[in-house]
Every structure is written in C-alpha cells, then in structure tokens.
Amino acid sequence: MNRFDHALGRLVSMRALALLRIPAGLIVVLHLRPFLDDARNGHIYRDAFTEPYAAWYPELPRSLYVAVLWLGVAAAIAMAAGLCTRLATATTFGVVAYNLFLSTTHMHNNRAYLVVVLALLAVAPCGRELSADAWIRRRQGKPPLDPSAPAWPLLLLRFEASVVYGASAVSKLVDPDWFGGNVTWDRTVRDRSDMFASGVPDWLVSILTDRDFHTFAAKVIVLTELFIAIGLWVRVTRYAAVWVAVCFHIAIELSASVQVFSLVAISALVIWAEPATRDRVVSFDPAVAAHRRLVAFVRPLDWLARFRLEPGSSGTPLRVVDRDGSEDTDVAAAVLVLSRLPVTAFFALPALLVFGRGHARARPKAVASGS
C-alpha cells in the first residue's frame, strides 16, 4: 500500500494534462455544437423521445438549458485558452456531464470518454502551463506556479484510457460471434453496395467481403485493442502502442461515424509521455544551417517540453542525450527528436526502427564500478 500511495502522491509534471486541456476544450465545442444547432432550430432534447436516468434529475426550463449549453461553450473556450483554468475546466465538465446524464438517449461511448477526460482535467492543476493564466502571471511579474503536482489524476486518466481499449477488446474476445469473424463479416457484406458506391475497387470489395478474411481480421482487431491497452503501460512497447492507436483511430474514423471519439482518443495519447520536462538535452552547432533549422522547428513544436536546447561549440555534431544518459548523434538524433514531438511523432516513430536504439546509439558510460 505504501508503494501505491507513493505512486499516487509522487510529484510529476502536469505538462501532458496542460496540453490535453487545449484540444479537449475545442472538442467540447464540437460536441456541444449539434445540441446548439438544434436549439437554434427551436428543438431541444425533450422535444423528442428521451428517457431520464432518474426522476429527481433536474431539468431546466428551455431557455435556461440553452443558456447552460452556451455557458459550456464559453467555458470550453476559456479552458482551451487556459483562462481561469480551474473554474473553466470544472464548469465545462459540469455542463457536459449534466447534459450527458439528462437522458439515456444522450449516452454514447465517445461522450462517456469525454466526460471522464474532463473530470480528471478538472481535478488536476493543468492550467499552470500553456495557459493564459500563466501568461498573465508573467505579465504581472509574479513567479510561475509549480507545474508539478501529485500523479494521481494522470494515473487515473491512464487507467481510464487503457480501460477504453481493454474493455472493448475483452467484450469482443468473449463473444464467439465477434472473435470468430461473424460480426465484421456481416457488417461488411451489408455495406457492400456502399463500398461500390464510394469507389472502392472490386478486388478490394471482394477481399473485404470474404468470410475467411474476417476469421483472421477479427482476431487482429481484438489483439490490436489488447496490445494498445496493455502496451501503453509497458515502457518498451509504449511508443509502438501509441503509433498503433493512432492508426487504429484513423481507420475507425474512416470507416464509421463515431462523433468526437477519434479526436478525444488521439488527443489523450499525450498522457503517456513521461511526466518529466526538459530531461533530454539537444546540443547543436549554431553555425550549421541544418542544426538551426531543426532547432527552429523543435522550439515551437516541443509542446510536451521534452528537450533542453543547448548551443555547442563549433563542430559539435547534433547530439541528443536522453534521460538515461544514452546519446544519439546526427540523423539518429534528429529522428529521435522528431519522434518525441506530438505533431511529428506519428511519422518519425517508424524511422526509429532504422535509426533508433540499437543502431549506432552510444550507451551511457558506467559512472562507477564496484570492486
């Protein structure tokens, strides 16, 4: 239990949650937009079939309900901007959760996951960086607030993220129809005319509607979800799991209508970054144009604050010293840096297989030896 308490209370960087706060706020605006569009057309949820979860759950007068939705939008924008972050995030969570629990007809997996993300952002101090609040403090000459905090909200969010993949995988694994390929095959066969209509080539339709293909594909899907759920927790598979998760969500987005699920899930992948900042050092030669270009690229895109950029002396090769003391130089260093930036990671991570660990990478020297 002591180790458990230590893990929950360990001070870690909240940078990943601060970063997640920004897309989460914008996603809330997207999420609330259909409700507001309906309201503009004179319709709210209870004008059609609804099924309240509980009779005691408060229902607001029509105009107040619409006002609350607009409050949610305003709070979500403030949350994304990091303005009065704690209040804005709590308000955003409150509005989205209130709206979700108004009726069983409002419940969707993507909304449930969004509410979970918002709840944990609301309890984490995620406005001390990447926020208008931090900017205002700087302008007022006040010292910045400590960007680290106890790890428990981050760990809980990691748990929830892996539950999303794990629960989905297990539900398919224990269902013989799913694991045997019946479900995906049946769905695909029923969508055959849509595939033809959208220009999918005949040969591909033929493969996708082949029963034997789905016997195999269903298992790949289930194992992929399991791999993501478990692989995210294991250091050596974490980056692979993140990459696979992005591919997985892109595939889902292309093949199904899942509202904001893909956006929430891909954004939430930032929580798997090591919760420590500036623990890798990039040294470079300012006289070398390629080094300058890389640094100019990294500086604004290092949203997770992974790197300390240190100009070296003339002739210094591009070098990255990792948190474990291992070093990469030249192309390997550039690839490593790009693989750690949120916007380039998806493209650079596969290149690590060629240029990464085990390929001309200097291991840390022993700093002491026993006798």
Binding site: A48, Y113, D186
Partner: protein
Amino acid sequence: MGSRARILGRRTAVLVVVLLQLGMVVRGYTADHKEFAFQMFSESSTWRADIVRVTADGRRIPVDEPWAGYEWDELVGDRGLRFAAVRHHADAGVDNQLAFLAAALDWLADNTPNDTETLYLEATVTYWRNTHAPETVVFRSHDRNVQAQ
C-alpha cells in the same frame, strides 16, 4: 488537511474511481445501455419493426401515417428509431435498440396529448442477432387514458 488525511483521501478517491469503472465494465455485459462499459462496435445485429397505434375502437393504424399533428420520425429522435419499418443496423447492439424502442413507445404514449383516439402503441419487432436466425418480440406501451385526453 493533514498529510495522512490527504494520502487517505487520495487513495480512497482513486480506488473508488477504479472500482466504479471496473463495475461499469462488468455491468455492461447485462445492461441495455452499457454506460461507461466501452463495448464498441459490439454487434452486426439488425432489426425492423411494424409499429401501430391501437385505438380505443380496436383499429390498428401504422405510425408511418401522421396522426393528430404528430409524426413518428420527428418524435423518436436519433437513436436509430426512425424508419423502423426498414431493416437496419442496431448501432449499439440489439438489446440497447430494443430497450430504446420499448421506452420510446411509453414516451409517445405520455407525450402526444392531441391524440384522443390511441389507446396504446404496439411494436412487432423482428431482429437478427449478428448472423443468427430472426427472432420476434412484441412491445406494447402502457394504456393511455383516452377519455381524459
């Protein structure tokens, strides 16, 4: 709050959330709506229904026809209940879909005050769970007090 209390509070909050979440996942195997169970793309099941209004004098009138200023497609919202007569996918599983349909019949019975002739609504549903043989079930709303309408 003292350090010990803070540790206990943190531990309790985390354990409660973890147990609650795991409980919701387990509950998802029996619950119709599977809230927070994250069972995604769980079925290829399809369904269709013949839904009628049964009037006090015994007539059975399909809800495809507008009545008393109401239209089925406008009243049932967007949970897969529109175009019920056409066989289509049960997005979140057939149990979820049938639960929505049964609840929608009751909701319609309660929320169509201009209708002074319908005694109850009835849906004869045929559903195909994944690739299995079709099954049929009949849902009926509670009776309306037609004379009081």
